[in-house]
């Protein structure tokens, strides 16, 4: 007895949606926003691994690995940026960062 792909995809969809909600809601805290992104990426990974499981091909798992590598790079950079911004603005509220906008 195996796990049907449909259930995996639905689970991944739920996880992804929770991540999306987290990203959209936590505008007052960049850390939580990044957490939301991590959750969404996890949802995506789950779909890849599920696909790999369903068809017995290693490609999906490789992509999951790639996502992990990319995420680690992204998180390290993003957190470095958060530290930097916190130093300059003394806040983690994303709406306070708008230097690039033409005033």
């Amino acid at each position: 007895m195996t796990v049907p792909l449909i259930q995996i995809i639905i689970l991944a969809g739920i996880i992804f949606s929770l991540g999306l909600i987290c990203t959209l809601v936590w505008r007052s805290n960049v850390i939580m926003l990044l957490v939301g992104i991590e959750i969404m990426l996890n949802g995506a990974m789950l779909v890849f691994v599920g696909g790999s499981y369903r068809w017995g091909a290693p490609d999906g798992q490789i992509f999951a690995l790639m996502i992990i590598a990319m995420t680690s790079a992204e998180v390290s950079l993003a957190l470095a940026m958060v530290v930097y911004l916190q130093r300059r603005h003394k806040t983690v509220n994303v709406d306070d960062f708008h230097e690039l906008k033409d005033q």
Binding site: S28, V35, N42, A69, S76, A80
Partner: protein, 164 residues
């Protein structure tokens, strides 16, 4: 059958942990819930015949990334629950609508889609490595470059008095 039951249990744990994580106003607690969620995810990966990915999930995600988050929270001194506040209800409304839209679309698409058949073959670490370093050699190179850049960028941003 055992496998299915395990899957449902892990899925339930994961959803609940994630829900708690995103609604928790204290960042440190949120991270801890998230780690729980990732452990459940690693279990699911193992169930889905991907022990390597499960291992990486535990080591990198639940381990390194979340510790990184922890460090940053401590560094920025955000760990004061009395200062943190949960977003107002009105800010939840629009994301909820949009997300339910996305979710219903994904679910309906998954339900109405019939998938072609295949075989559930366990993928050994050897087969995984052969494909990874054979067919996806260029991707490995690119990912390693990306990691290098990330290191350089993080060093630049994090140096003392950076950006001045």
């Amino acid at each position: 059958m055992t496998m299915n039951i395990l899957f449902y249990i892990l899925a339930a744990v994961m959803i609940v942990a994630t829900l708690l994580a995103i609604t928790e106003k204290h960042p440190v607690h949120a991270i801890v819930y998230l780690v729980t969620s990732f452990f459940a995810m690693a279990g699911i990966f193992y169930l889905l015949c991907a022990p390597l990915v499960a291992m990486f999930e535990v080591i990198i995600y639940a381990g390194a990334v979340m510790v990184l988050f922890m460090f940053v929270i401590m560094m920025l001194d955000l760990g004061h629950p009395e200062e943190a506040q949960r977003p107002a209800f009105i800010t939840w409304l629009v994301p909820l609508i949009l997300t339910s839209l996305v979710l219903s679309s994904v679910v309906s698409a998954a339900v109405f889609r019939t998938f072609p058949g295949g075989s559930n073959v366990e993928i050994t670490a050897r087969a995984f490595a052969t494909v990874l370093f054979g067919r996806y050699g260029v991707a490995i190179e690119i990912i390693s470059m990306q990691l290098l850049f990330a290191v350089v960028g993080a060093l630049y941003l994090g140096r003392k008095g950076g950006g001045k």
